[in-house]
Symmetry: C2
Subunit: 333 residues, 2 copies
Amino acid sequence: MSEKTIVALDAMGGDNAPLEIVKGAVDAVLASDEIEVLLYGDEEAVNAELSKYKYDNSRLKVVPTTEVISTSEHPVNAITKKKDSSLVRGLKAVKNGEADAFVSAGNSGAILAGGQVLVGRIKGVKRAPFAPIIPTENGPALLLDAGANVDCKPENLVQFAKMGAIYMRPILNREPRVGIVNLGAEEEKGNALVKETFPLLKEEKSINFIGSVESRDIPFGTADVIVCEAFTGNAILKMFEGVAKLFGKLMKKAFLSSIKAKIGALLALPALKKELKKYDTSTYGGAPMLGLRGLVVKTHGSAKAVEVKNSILQCSDFKKQRILETIQEQLGE
Amino acid sequence: MSEKTIVALDAMGGDNAPLEIVKGAVDAVLASDEIEVLLYGDEEAVNAELSKYKYDNSRLKVVPTTEVISTSEHPVNAITKKKDSSLVRGLKAVKNGEADAFVSAGNSGAILAGGQVLVGRIKGVKRAPFAPIIPTENGPALLLDAGANVDCKPENLVQFAKMGAIYMRPILNREPRVGIVNLGAEEEKGNALVKETFPLLKEEKSINFIGSVESRDIPFGTADVIVCEAFTGNAILKMFEGVAKLFGKLMKKAFLSSIKAKIGALLALPALKKELKKYDTSTYGGAPMLGLRGLVVKTHGSAKAVEVKNSILQCSDFKKQRILETIQEQLGE
């Protein structure tokens, strides 16, 4: 008998909560027998959504909570004060061993702060990075740290590199190429942090370090694991999102600008959508925080059921692939 | 009689040198009576190109040089050793007051290093940032520092903000909105550098500081002057380039994938090109280094004649707008 993965799910987080979150939970339970979901949220609202579906209710349970942390709230204040929020209760379930993982589409800052404070890091892991998948021409790449830890030390970046490689190895089914974000390809380039980190990564036997990566090359998949401190990583991640959004917007504008363009778009759109589909990361679920004593996954605030479902299934993969144990073995004290 | 702007032009720099560079110089001299160009480069090669055109040869002169710095050369070594290169000689012409500005499509690192070392900074300016125009939905924005100075201090960023505002004021013909790159919109967010810089920018009376800017919002033009240290700025600039290039590539792939898509593309492309044209920054010329005792402009390595021409004309605007003098008045000692 295979072991079940228990996922604590924040039913109240994100733009589409609880509707899409609950639907995602139901879909995940239907998709895999190995999943058990604990739905943290307002009992009445969650049950109202659940009543729409048929599912195995031995593997999908509601845990009533009375508070909600909104996306506009101050992260640290919110997790300190709202002790009966779906976000805090779900994270505590991971800490207490009642769940293997926590998934939320809610307040990013609160999830990141809560991961560090409420779940806690594996002993030996100095900082727990936020590690989203970046879509590239070459398939998925992992960017870490993309937002959790600013002002890092070289040893932190080395740990990010090792954890990133551990995480991506089973996803890619080959040895991931690890690169460090830099101003240019030459080894002597970089700020003080990169210059200090570079030789340490070069020495690190457990990873396949390929050197510097310029952000210009990231979309083309020159590295599978892209290491940087969180300020730069966040700028890169959000620039990707911003430019992609701008392109979407200007394409729409162009395609609607005349009858001729409209007809053209109608003919060309299926091919364009097929090409763009390759850059859809929702199949990988959400972005994990690595190095915690349990898995914490942040899905997009705008996540629909399919992304929620995939984020839940991702927790099962994470458990089967023994990512947490491997991080503990290789980085733990 | 209006005063002429003398531009030292690196005829040997960039992918299309000397052909497109020389053509750009001729076009600039034809476009404006107020421009005088000194073409630094291999006499024979440059004259061979020049012989194709008719122009006022009292305003376009060749200054023979014997060495060339390639893009692959180590910047500091190159400018130290190749004293008779077009790049070094052109920069020295600015230093010696023989030219107002230097324009090159060559080795970026050598231009940036040469600007600092050979031209030198205005007394009182601590660091001279590289400041490219970023195209946005709202028009041009200036990103600085995008590659010259890593590991900055708060006072450096404050100077970048002031110089950026001085540069953009005449371009926009209104008071530029100055923002600092940050992880989120909240004032308490940021790394140590941003947290220290934020209150200084808030106090700075000479600029219109609008607070934090997330890189996600940069393409939509939320700020006109975007301040950061060069490591982050470079990541942002190159991510913009990389994602734009990826989109171009995948659109092309989609549009060529079937007969139907090809016909669609044929119909929709004029509208798409018109929309994309708004994001073409070549009309603004190249990217200046600000705070030097003269203007140094880096154009794209792949620059064609039109961009070279615009970069030369930009030097004339810079002089007429008294940017250098204003920086000296507001930041100089």
